[in-house]
């Protein structure tokens, strides 16, 4: 895998999608479906909901590719931000009762093929996983609750039984450590 080349290609793909090139969208989908679907399953804990939202995300990419601004971030960041935002919106729209039911019937993620798994077992993923694992639990928990559960700082404080100020400090500290851990690799891995 050549991350730098892929990065350039992603920008070109988005430009082609903005011109309504269907093949470009298919290529972008093939490139990111596994990462984004994994993210959506982690948020929604339901394959059915995650597939529905994944479809919405790529339809949004098709309609809004022209809005992508390379100066404001990389395609990976744009796609992940879109997917997470849609996923959190869906999560919040589900009734609390339904959420409980979904959590109870949590479906395991379908095993990915070896080839895909190999590709995803890249140093990027390893690096992030390792960086998160090294965070103290009190810093990691607020990050995870905010990122995957869509909770606000007040909601996290209530859930953890911690003062709001403490949660703010820990969340900021955790993200700063993650940033430091990834910064050395940013040029190479596209963070």
């Amino acid at each position: 895998m050549q991350p730098e080349q892929a990065q350039i290609s992603d920008v070109e793909l988005l430009a082609a999608i903005a011109r309504k090139d269907e093949t470009a969208l298919a290529e972008l989908y093939d490139r990111y479906r596994v990462i984004l679907f994994g993210l959506l399953i982690r948020i929604l804990t339901s394959r059915e909901e995650a597939e529905d939202v994944l479809q919405e995300v790529f339809l949004q990419v098709w309609r809004r590719a022209a809005d992508f601004d390379e100066q404001r971030g990389r395609p990976f960041t744009w796609l992940v931000t879109l997917a997470r935002s849609r996923g959190i919106d869906r999560l919040r729209s589900l009734a609390a009762k339904e959420r409980v039911a979904l959590a109870g019937a949590k479906e395991p993620a379908e095993q990915v093929s070896d080839a895909v798994a190999d590709a995803l077992a890249s140093e990027r993923r390893t690096l992030v996983t390792k960086a998160l694992a090294q965070l103290p639990e009190e810093q990691k928990s607020p990050l995870i609750l905010a990122y995957f559960d869509g909770l606000t700082q007040s909601e996290i404080a209530a859930k953890l039984g911690a003062p709001l100020g403490t949660v703010k400090t820990r969340m900021r500290a955790g993200l700063m450590k993650l940033r430091e851990a990834l910064s050395n690799q940013s040029a190479s891995f596209g963070f």
């Binding site: 399953i41 479809q55 971030g73 990027r124 990122y147």
Partner: protein
């Protein structure tokens, strides 16, 4: 809130974890602050990396197909001219029901119009009848008063005759010992605008004393009550003149009636 305060909030904003008020304030600030906007972009890239910690998963093949089908459909819609052919009018059972409904609605509308008109006419007739009854009742009350006054011991009855100004006019004036008087007029001409009739008490060696003003109906009839001055109780003559609205302190116009 200072620029530094906003900068501290940016990492949480990148995680969409700010509470609504802070989120709104920071969004407004970032829209104006280039430095914060740049910093937010950087933090968003860090936050996006967290997505990689989720276990990768393969969606079903159907998702890809659904996406491609949907975008083809949207693309086709965008290039297909939206010309709606004009279909010939076709009669079917539903349109027949529609026509029947329209006819029924029209009939109902006309029926309602007629019904409203009849109600309005009936209402007007009742109002007129009520007014007639009110006037009749008033006349009866006046006649009763007149009869009681005449039955009062010591009461007197005077007749007033029309002058050349109103040859067909006449009146009767009755009063009791307390000076309570009633006048019943008949045949007086309708006073012109701004004028009305006024009663006068005339006692020898005194200027005419003013009485009340009054108006008549379209038949020249009228009734009024007044109080005679004490000096007029024993011996007085009575007259009616036409005066400006509100009456005069002394007669200014010719007499229409006199005793």
């Amino acid at each position: 809130m200072s620029h530094e305060d906003y900068k501290e909030m940016i990492p949480a904003h990148a995680l969409s974890a700010l509470d609504w008020t802070d989120d709104r304030a920071l969004t407004d600030h970032v829209a104006q602050c280039v430095e914060c906007r740049q910093e937010l972009n950087e933090w968003q890239q860090t936050a996006a990396a967290v997505a990689l910690s989720a276990s990768p998963a393969e969606p079903s093949l159907l998702v890809r197909e659904r996406i491609l089908t949907q975008i083809r459909s949207e693309r086709d819609e965008s290039i297909t001219p939206k010309i709606v052919p004009i279909k010939p009018l076709q009669k079917n059972i539903w349109s027949s029901f529609g026509s029947l409904g329209a006819v029924a609605a029209a009939v109902l509308f006309v029926f309602l119009l007629v019904y409203v008109f009849l109600l309005w006419r009936e209402n007007r007739a009742i109002r007129q009848e009520v007014e007639t009854l009110r006037q009749a009742n008033q006349k009866v009350q006046e006649d009763l008063k007149w009869a009681r006054l005449l039955q009062t011991p010591g009461s007197k009855l005077m007749e007033l005759n029309g002058t050349p100004a109103a040859p067909g006019a006449s009146a009767k004036l009755a009063y009791d010992q307390s000076g309570h008087a009633m006048v019943m007029m008949n045949g007086l001409p309708t006073p012109p605008a701004g004028k009305e009739y006024q009663l006068w008490f005339i006692v020898a060696d005194k200027p005419p004393m003013r009485g009340k003003t009054f108006s008549t109906d379209s038949h020249g009839k009228g009734m009024m009550e007044d109080q005679l001055p004490d000096v007029a109780l024993k011996s007085a003559a009575f007259a009616v003149t036409l005066e400006p609205q509100g009456g005069s302190a002394s007669p200014t116009m010719p007499m229409y009636l006199r005793s």
